[in-house]
């Protein structure tokens, strides 16, 4: 079964149709790229998928469940998790706590337990700590766990954001321009990290990216949109040769 299934997704802002009849299917453990020129509506698609915006039309199924009428926090519980174009970390919290916040819904202890610190509290907190430390070491961040998130260098902040997204135990990871602002070497590193995450955590990844080297290098399938509409779909090789795509990027 597809992890993500989107049918005829449309959103209108006033007279402007920002996303028009968008369809996509992402299979289990698949890595799909979503590309398009600036202002094509990529981030709007993400905002629709994560429930920040409500679609004018169309349906979204995550892991077979309809997201209609659900708040962003409820959609996370269906098994999708995201990062942001302009990194949104919890800046004044420690790196470790950034991850533990995202592990929130995997814990169940109530208010009273947090005050009397019963066995359940201790077990779940210890587990949360373990998860956080393990996740950080996957991304090579375990040495920074007590640092405030805002003190991390830029590339590490990007990684922390991905680690945080993973802590919600997602089946689908939505990455919004993960390589934005990175130098070629950092981008290279990031490609390895994304591949590693996909294999180790068995997640599906949908990513928006401008860096063609990254997209062509790791995506198994690519979807191209322009003016809110899909103009091409296919393997990296196919997309590279597609006339419509070249036209959209270079103009006529």
């Amino acid at each position: 079964m597809a992890i993500l299934e989107v049918n005829d997704l449309t959103i209108k802002f006033g007279g402007l149709t920002a996303v028009d009849n968008f369809n996509i299917k992402v299979e289990d453990n698949e890595l799909v790229g979503l590309i398009g020129p600036n202002g094509a509506g990529k981030t709007t698609v993400f905002n629709l998928l994560t429930g920040v915006y409500e679609p004018t039309d169309g349906t979204i199924f995550i892991d077979g469940k309809n997201t209609k009428g659900k708040k962003p926090s409820q959609i996370v519980m269906l098994g999708s998790s995201r990062t942001f174009q302009n990194i949104r970390l919890f800046k004044e919290m420690s790196v470790l706590d950034n991850i533990k916040v995202a592990y929130h819904n995997e814990m169940t202890y109530n208010l009273l337990s947090s005050i009397i610190k019963n066995k359940k509290f201790k077990e779940e907190e210890a587990r949360a700590n373990m998860v956080a430390i393990e996740l950080l070491s996957v991304f090579g961040l375990e040495g920074y766990k007590e640092e405030l998130a805002k003190n991390l260098p830029y590339g590490k902040q990007r990684k922390l954001e991905i680690a945080r997204a993973l802590a919600t135990n997602p089946k689908l990871l939505l990455l919004d321009e993960p390589a934005a602002g990175m130098n070629p070497q950092e981008t290279e590193e990031l490609m390895d990290t994304i591949k590693l995450v996909k294999d180790r955590f068995k997640v599906s990844v949908l990513l928006i990216e401008h860096d063609m080297k990254l997209v062509m290098g790791i995506c198994e399938r690519i979807v191209v949109i322009d003016y809110g509409k899909i103009i091409a779909k296919g393997s990296p090789q196919e997309i590279r040769k597609n006339k419509d795509v070249i036209k959209a990027y270079l103009g006529e």
């Binding site: 981030t43 905002n47 920040v52 942001f84």
Partner: protein, 296 residues
């Protein structure tokens, strides 16, 4: 219903509304430019009233009302500019809450300063305007009310023209929209901010003078409640919006006067604050304000 009484209440509410509107403009202009609730504005209003009091009592020759008013307004404007330079300028890039606390601190400081200089007891404001009422048929309207209403409306028209038509007014609007872009266009940000504080403080002082003449007294905490209600008026109209502050001022003046006159004077404050809460719940950006959503 007693028509005469009703007309009187309407005139009363125009009078109170004018004062609120004058003071509300200062709140709203400062908020528009530096996004700060200037809690010290009520105290500037109070000082404006004290300035008028000092001028009227210390100079034996009976100065014309307009001279007293203009000098007091100029002094208050200076005070406003100084407040900004000393207390707010350094905090323009600091967290919003620090600036807010500073504003509250300035408010308390000025209040206590006034108490130290003038004493805590109310002083009797001399009658700088003849207290002979003007008769409209059977309805007697105190001259001070005539002055308040007509001068306020006149000044508000002037202010609107200033903001809409002049270069400085346009620069002011530009700064409130986007400080950085305005700076890149060569607008002197500091100058515009000072100008904003000057105008707001001068109008606030005028409001304070009218208030103190109407109640024929000046006291250090004069700006607290009136300031708070003027602030509500600014929120009511849409904070940051000058036209909104004027409408809000008259609306709050009307609501307050009518509840005092027809419902209960004890509960009028609660009703005014209740209106504030309702407005915030149903249209937080005020009558004329726009809703802004955060971009993801």
């Amino acid at each position: 219903m007693d028509v005469e009484l009703f007309i009187k209440q309407i005139i009363n509410s125009l009078n109170t509304g004018s004062i609120y509107a004058l003071v509300a403009i200062g709140y709203t202009m400062v908020y528009g430019i530096i996004r700060l609730i200037n809690f010290a504005h009520g105290e500037i209003m109070m000082f404006g009233a004290y300035f008028a009091f000092i001028i009227a009592t210390s100079i034996p020759v009976g100065l014309p009302f307009f001279v007293i008013v203009l000098v007091s307004m100029a002094l208050a404007a200076l005070m406003g500019i100084l407040t900004e330079k000393i207390a707010y300028k350094k905090l323009r890039t600091a967290p919003r809450i620090s600036a807010l606390i500073t504003a509250i601190g300035m408010s308390l400081f000025l209040q206590n300063l006034a108490q130290l200089i003038f004493g805590a007891n109310p002083k009797v404001m001399p009658q700088v305007i003849s207290n002979e009422p003007i008769m409209f048929g059977n309805i007697a309207v105190p001259q001070v009310m005539m002055y308040t209403i007509s001068m306020s409306i006149g000044i508000m028209i002037l202010l609107t023209l200033f903001v809409k038509k002049t270069r400085a007014g346009k620069a002011m609007r530009a700064v409130s929209q986007d400080k950085e872009a305005a700076m890149l266009m060569g607008i002197n940000i500091n100058g515009i901010i000072s100008l904003t504080f000057a105008i707001g403080s001068a109008l606030g002082a005028l409001g304070g003078i009218f208030y103190s003449i109407a109640y024929s007294q000046v006291y250090p905490t004069l700006g607290v409640m009136t300031g708070l209600k003027a602030f509500i008026a600014a929120v009511f109209g849409g904070i940051g919006n000058i036209g909104g502050a004027m409408i809000g001022g008259y609306a709050i003046g009307f609501i307050e006067t009518m509840t005092k006159g027809y419902i209960s004077s004890r509960w009028s404050d609660a009703i005014v604050f209740g209106v504030l809460i309702l407005i915030l719940l149903f249209k937080p950006s005020g009558i004329l304000g726009k809703n802004v959503k955060e971009k993801v």
